[in-house]
Subunit: 362 residues, 4 copies
Amino acid sequence: MTASRSKIPVGILGATGSVGQVLVRMLRDHPWFELSAVMASARSVGRPYGDAVAWAQPEPLDPRVARLEVLPCEPAGSGAGAADCPLVFSALGSSVARDVELAFAESGAFVVSNAASHRMHPRVPLIVPEVNASHLALLAEQSFGGGSSRGAIVTNPNCSTIGLVLALKPLVDAFGVEQVHVVTLQALSGAGRPGVPGLAALDNVIPFIPGEEEKLEIEPAKILGAVGAGGFEPLPIAVSAQCNRVPVRDGHTLCVSVGLGRRAEVQELVAAWNDFSVDPEVAALPSAPRRLIHVLDDPDGPQPALHRDLDGGMAVSIGRVRPCPLLDQRFVTLSHNTVRGAAGGSLLIAELARERGLLGGA
Amino acid sequence: MTASRSKIPVGILGATGSVGQVLVRMLRDHPWFELSAVMASARSVGRPYGDAVAWAQPEPLDPRVARLEVLPCEPAGSGAGAADCPLVFSALGSSVARDVELAFAESGAFVVSNAASHRMHPRVPLIVPEVNASHLALLAEQSFGGGSSRGAIVTNPNCSTIGLVLALKPLVDAFGVEQVHVVTLQALSGAGRPGVPGLAALDNVIPFIPGEEEKLEIEPAKILGAVGAGGFEPLPIAVSAQCNRVPVRDGHTLCVSVGLGRRAEVQELVAAWNDFSVDPEVAALPSAPRRLIHVLDDPDGPQPALHRDLDGGMAVSIGRVRPCPLLDQRFVTLSHNTVRGAAGGSLLIAELARERGLLGGA
Amino acid sequence: MTASRSKIPVGILGATGSVGQVLVRMLRDHPWFELSAVMASARSVGRPYGDAVAWAQPEPLDPRVARLEVLPCEPAGSGAGAADCPLVFSALGSSVARDVELAFAESGAFVVSNAASHRMHPRVPLIVPEVNASHLALLAEQSFGGGSSRGAIVTNPNCSTIGLVLALKPLVDAFGVEQVHVVTLQALSGAGRPGVPGLAALDNVIPFIPGEEEKLEIEPAKILGAVGAGGFEPLPIAVSAQCNRVPVRDGHTLCVSVGLGRRAEVQELVAAWNDFSVDPEVAALPSAPRRLIHVLDDPDGPQPALHRDLDGGMAVSIGRVRPCPLLDQRFVTLSHNTVRGAAGGSLLIAELARERGLLGGA
Amino acid sequence: MTASRSKIPVGILGATGSVGQVLVRMLRDHPWFELSAVMASARSVGRPYGDAVAWAQPEPLDPRVARLEVLPCEPAGSGAGAADCPLVFSALGSSVARDVELAFAESGAFVVSNAASHRMHPRVPLIVPEVNASHLALLAEQSFGGGSSRGAIVTNPNCSTIGLVLALKPLVDAFGVEQVHVVTLQALSGAGRPGVPGLAALDNVIPFIPGEEEKLEIEPAKILGAVGAGGFEPLPIAVSAQCNRVPVRDGHTLCVSVGLGRRAEVQELVAAWNDFSVDPEVAALPSAPRRLIHVLDDPDGPQPALHRDLDGGMAVSIGRVRPCPLLDQRFVTLSHNTVRGAAGGSLLIAELARERGLLGGA
């Protein structure tokens, strides 16, 4: 038995899209998972993945994956159902994700989804492993497929939400956070492909991203909430979010003001971030960053061009910590939207699930 | 006597810089003013303006101006003192502006300055003509040059402040504004020349502009304040400003949340902007926009590429008006930073001063 | 009878697209023409133009045009046939342009087309008014609609071809041109809407534009050819064209090497351009540039950001004239692709046709 | 003796600049070399490198290097002379490089230079290891420092030249190349820091790079020439080069037409590239790419955003191979200008020199 044969076969729903491509790239040479099924819309089904995809990653496509035939987004008989792929990543658009993901979960697959469809469902965990790994306990309330099925749906938050909650979590723990005012400067890759037309992206700002502000305003309360004896308790936190698209390829920059539970000085915030300790179970996962939070000394950072790729894009950068005349403190945080905020975040969830023995085929 | 001979001769301090060039362009064929003196740093002095300047405007340089010899930034014997140029625009950097502007005012010139040096001085008006033309009354307290001198210093606010206060003024009048949270996405031209290096500007956001947040936090209170019998009263308003440089040529986009004096619905704000009436004295000035405030119907506007040039860059655009979960209402406003926010704003001030007979040589 | 009623009503096929929008903008306040019919694909038909279009021009849409109902691209009963609009501009994509343009010509309309479909047909003039106005004589060989119909098709060359032949024409006249090696750096607006995705446009070059090189290699011979007694004679000229898309909004930059009929020095080329005399009939047209060719002194021009808008975008800029180690001389030329290279070029053709009495309704 | 102690200590002249930074990054964890001296201009001397540099690489600066004190660009007593650093990389600007490099060579150091100063000197090898490793034989004619000194100067070609000659070499070997017409679209990083101002880089093309065309026209003949019994013979090849700066961070794109020694079809060129065999001595060097030349299937490649980073930026991509109406064949080639074209190219030269025992301290 080779090492490769012992890896868990995984499938990707929406494999030709922007996030799907990053997943394909990050799964190459993964120690635990092996990409075995690529699924996409009817236009691509039946074609070799290498032909169907407009590959736009800075590294060449793995020739083995290029030869995989694109399958339809259906569990039954697709070669990508639970029998074949106990783990399925969904990089589908929200319009189709809901039903497809349910079907795969029903068939017994462990689905890690980037789509918004199921995020706010009370029995679906919305996970950032360094923040709320404990929320995986919600899976016990899911009952897909009946019987001994391992079918499940776990969701990865919105790409901006992830950067925000990673920066907030140490503050929540240390001081409490009651109010958040956030304005985002989001990268083009967050809009997928074809996304924003070049003429609208060049020399321009688009101060509107459909549905984005709503997600950023409701998801943090769930992620930062607590699963306790009496059920799930969202964190009481008021968020005002304004979202902009800017001419940046990757990396969402967030300008954040926070109202804290108790007054704290700049140095206390910096200490909270620097001292934040990721649970060893999570820190040891293959895709976990060596250092989660980088508080920068630079007076003018973080900047997408300089800091989005720290720790392979899995880290979060923070800078410009200073008092706010309206709330308590202000800062700027940056994270890579398609890595940390999408593909990499999902992968980390899947690794955590495998580590906890939640994957059927593991 | 030709029309030209009856025009008021004007000088520009810092004529080769970014704002200086826009002034040169806007003064071409001006009905009241004629550019007669271009002044710059020692490097340029003595050369024809056309040789000294790295002209970067989309229209060709006026050949007449190209032949003007660049003069030093000194009033005495420069050919640009009050005797020759009763009106002087200053587009100097703040490091040198303070003393040079004082010298010109002492010599009897009416100085309209873009620099920050004198803005917050209690006897120096900080003017946006549509907002606080009445503040020109502060000039009565200035006493440059003694005797019958018309020497004076009037200042134009920071480029982001101008867009902000133009959007705030109708709200102040209608509802009162007590709190403002503003995050800016500012254009490269605001940094002058050479400004931000290309490598730092491409595919990037720089979340820091030295000194900018402080200006944006203190200037609105002065501009929106009142000159009354008991002296000057700044508006009690708390501003939190976070400033970013984005890859946009011209046009500052501001994401604004406001806390109002009384609750008001979105439609009331829109009505306040649409109904805002510019004083006829100001509205009739040559450089005044036909319509000052454009409230857009577009769901995703304003955008720099589409709206910065409305009314020749002198108008302000507003969009995305919606409630704020933390303060009362939110909106996005855009204005052209080197036109409305600098050269055009200064020109409008000068036109107002001329209309009121404040220019010595008029 | 008002001035407006005496204007010639015109229609635009493909009015919601990129070139269509520029035509709408340039027709505003036109002295001879009045836009009265906007036609587009089924998706837009029946809606007010202002709703159907994603207006992306730097000036607001004319409210009168915004209220026009979008008509189908059919002459009969559309309200845009020859009876109603004797002049029709076509900004359609090549896939549909061929048949639609024929139908309008058959119905008696004078069609000025931007599409490639009919450009190389031997009886269809391919016109750049300053270069080959005489080619309109080919219209005598067209026989659309029979009888007294004024139905006709005239074509505007490819956007890059126009800039190239305007730069070549004075050299052809003065020295002869036998070989041309041209590499283009073309703007995003040339790809229409949605065109190049933002992610492909940012920080990138795309060294391929479908069909572009072929057009640039065959069109100059026709445009620079002669209509003589013995029929049409194309210019014997060999062109090698390589086309690139670059992150520029407007303005195609061409790096050109030419093999001349006789050796000529740099100064002779400059003199040929500076002395080039546009026929007075053309120079007097409303949309003609004041100066057609601007030979720049700048060592590093022309540049799209600085020179594309000269004379409202209707002029051509030339710089960097210097010997070529392989052919004879080299230079760089720039022109505005959607103005000079499309909408404005078409408009100039239509103005010329009206001046010559070729429009049925004039 | 630790592994580290057995590494060859190296110095970098101009370590704070753009190419210097890439060298610092590429030397991290190098198997043979250890960065021990960073040298820069007077402004930086005496400061820790981490303070003196405006680090702009996507990976964090090595903390060990950050603590190195910046030394002056002088061999004597600087701690960076031959005694301490037998290998010195020069990333100096050409204005100062000439004398500084001579001084280091005189002191006994093996200097690998990116500057243009010495490239065309008949006794200075101009090396692209995969192309002309044999030219290192020219070093026998150098006599720096006298006696047993290993002092030497080897040069790395211009960043565009490297990509060009790598694409040409297989064609030269297979068919002969007599004429080359090349137009470049060069990245901003090639201009160093601060380089092109952001306002000139955004939405623009600059069709001029001082001195660049000359280098591209003369360097290939030397690199592709032969060192034989009768001395050095440059390749008789005529090159016409036109150079443009485009809004791209990294990666120079070259549009190339070639006149061959004998006619060859597109497929023969592709075969020549695919079959090109790098000398095993070079292919085994630590920084050599796994595959040197990638001929792409994509119809629209190579593109900087997609292909500049192939094999860590050390590979060359080629696409769009097709006949040329003027010369024989055309193609587009792309290479990473600061890696393959500067820092990485220099590093590969140094590795080759070490492998051949040419480094004094090895």
